[in-house]
Symmetry: C2
Subunit: 371 residues, 2 copies
């Protein structure tokens, strides 16, 4: 007898399927790029490389949900090829957001390696004409950042093209386009609140930071993939809506846990610079929560780039623990996970059991994650 | 008897139709934006305002071609509503490009009035939290520019949404999506060459600058609207291709003439700062042409922001005339217009006579334009 688990695809197979499709999509565009001159073809090659380094969390969610529904006979599913295309498009959308997010944050690296702008700054093409003019470095940086901006636009376009061309019936196309539309709008709204907080243009409050967390991360990283997988699998509106709710709670939990990891774990365990959020004075939910406590004046003084040291980092860890903010956020993570679990374990078969199984397993891994 | 001219719509009526549709599209999104908090709603309101100040050249081209084909009974046309939607989407695409282009150029105004980033910098919302910290201005600028970047993404998304949802048959949808795809790719490639030239990352040559002119301006401003109007009107592939050729030649002529106006006309006549191209050291076709002449060392020394004066401006006008570059570019404009005219006056009725009439009238105005 086959168990549910065995009926779901091997994660490595899925990973390969997504990587292959992503590569094919980029390759098709690369040929087109070459027609616009060798300079643009070089830029495209670098972009294509940068697009393919991710963990593919989002496309794996699309296919996990799709395969889960497909394992039941109840839904009127589209071909798996269509689901793989859309999964790749979700990764391209993520990449487009990363390119523009890194510009806003003025970052030249991501997870320790140069991002597109970072690799352009040091590329051969950009240095071949370099003289001894002190303005050269400024120009090269402007050129690299502008190129990343333009390629972000192209990735956003490519993601939309895949959605617009998906071979699905008109009602599903409408649902998918509505989903994409609200997703991009919410993500932009979330990013806007993020940058408004970072640049001190609006007053930080815990509800606002939680809203930002949901809109900036949960919507496109979790709600979109889960709902998309459901639509392509031919699941009904109720199943899609419930999975959207699951995604939202899961996404908030994921981001809050990320904030906790960044604040309290050793850098080797989560891949970021130790204390980078503290040093940047990042407005996370953890910090917004600490604002409400008596310890805030002490905490505020220790955060931010001026005179930041490892010592202040450790003092902040201690204070964020003592003031209760850590406990509050940890409880929020547990609550969000629990709400998601409750939706998934309702016994009315609205969401196919294989889909629930897939997501519950994911959540179990997430609760224990340290990176 | 009705003449051809009379059968085409009154330009003011068309202008109103486009403005109304554009307003409706933005209004629908504005309601959606309000659901994401008051801060985002304010940003949306400013963006919506900024989106509606254009001359609407591109959407008027879409509708001019559509109406021209519709005046003949030969084509299997879609409803005019669809054409108006797509015309508005072309304007949104233009607006998205302008937002990102202004970021790359670090401009805070366009045609003498503040652009989105410019109006954000001075908006009430951005100053309410302002203290006396000298970093405040830097932060406000970063916030304003980041917001414009994000809204450019949203406008690009909105344009794609309209294309993806257009109520046309599948073959036409494919043609339209192909057209949108090559248009965005070429425009990005053109912008990339532009920024690579401006930042001295690639060597300027006349063919490269002409390529850039075509890709950056002609493709989305002329080729896209003409081909799109033809597709929605149900015209065949040959008519679409010919109109694409017309658009390309017309677009190159338009941009070259813009370069000439900027170099040789009084600012009151073309709306830009007098000598702004010279002061910025902009790599136009006129300059690329002058590079090939003996006068280049003299010309090079006078261009660029360092010590630029009205005197150097007038000296440059004189030199660009004497070296022959002005004559070459003026001849190119005439040639491009002539090629377009030759395509439009072929006597085989591939392009409907009303469409030819509309475009020939436009070209006649263009040849005489001084703004």
């Amino acid at each position: 007898m086959t168990t549910m688990r065995e009926r779901l695809r091997n994660p490595e197979t899925v990973q390969t399927e997504i990587t292959t499709r992503l590569h094919a999509l980029m390759q098709a565009k690369s040929t087109q790029a070459a027609a616009h001159g060798s300079h643009f073809a070089e830029l495209w090659a670098l972009t294509s490389q940068a697009a393919q380094g991710g963990k593919l969390l989002r496309p794996r969610l699309v296919l996990g949900v799709f395969d889960g529904f497909r394992a039941t006979a109840a839904t009127n599913t589209h071909p798996r090829e269509t689901a793989i295309d859309l999964a790749a498009a979700v990764e391209l959308l993520h990449f487009a957001f990363l390119l523009h997010d890194d510009l806003i944050d003025e970052d030249l690296t991501r997870r320790g390696v140069p991002n597109l702008a970072g690799s352009l700054v040091t590329s051969v093409a950009s240095t071949q004409l370099q003289g001894s003019d002190p303005g050269d470095e400024t120009r090269r940086m402007h050129w690299a950042r502008s190129s990343a901006l333009l390629m972000g636009d192209l990735m956003l376009t490519l993601a939309h093209q895949v959605f617009a061309r998906a071979r699905v019936a008109d009602p599903e196309r409408s649902r998918m386009l509505d989903l994409l539309d609200t997703t991009v709008t919410e993500t932009v709204a979330g990013e806007y609140i993020d940058v408004s907080l970072a640049d001190a243009q609006i007053t930080p409050t815990l509800p606002l930071v939680l809203d930002m967390t949901r809109m900036k991360t949960a919507t496109y990283s979790f709600e979109l993939p889960l709902r998309l997988g459901a639509i392509v699998a031919g699941a009904g509106a109720l199943a899609e809506q419930r999975l959207g709710d699951v995604g939202r709670h899961l996404g908030i939990a994921f981001q809050l846990q990320d904030d906790l990891l960044s604040a309290f774990e050793q850098s080797e365990r989560h891949g970021k610079d130790q204390f980078s959020d503290f040093r940047e004075g990042k407005e996370t939910a953890l910090i917004a929560c600490a604002r409400l406590t008596n310890e805030w004046p002490l905490i505020e003084r220790l955060m931010g780039p001026t005179n930041f040291s490892e010592e202040s980092g450790r003092a902040l860890q201690q204070l964020l623990h003592e003031c209760g903010a850590r406990d509050v956020i940890e409880a929020m993570v547990r609550d969000q996970i629990e709400i998601a679990e409750n939706i998934l374990t309702r016994d009315d078969h609205v969401i196919a059991p294989e889909v629930c199984q897939f997501l519950l397993a994911l959540m179990a891994r997430m609760v224990g994650r340290q990176s």
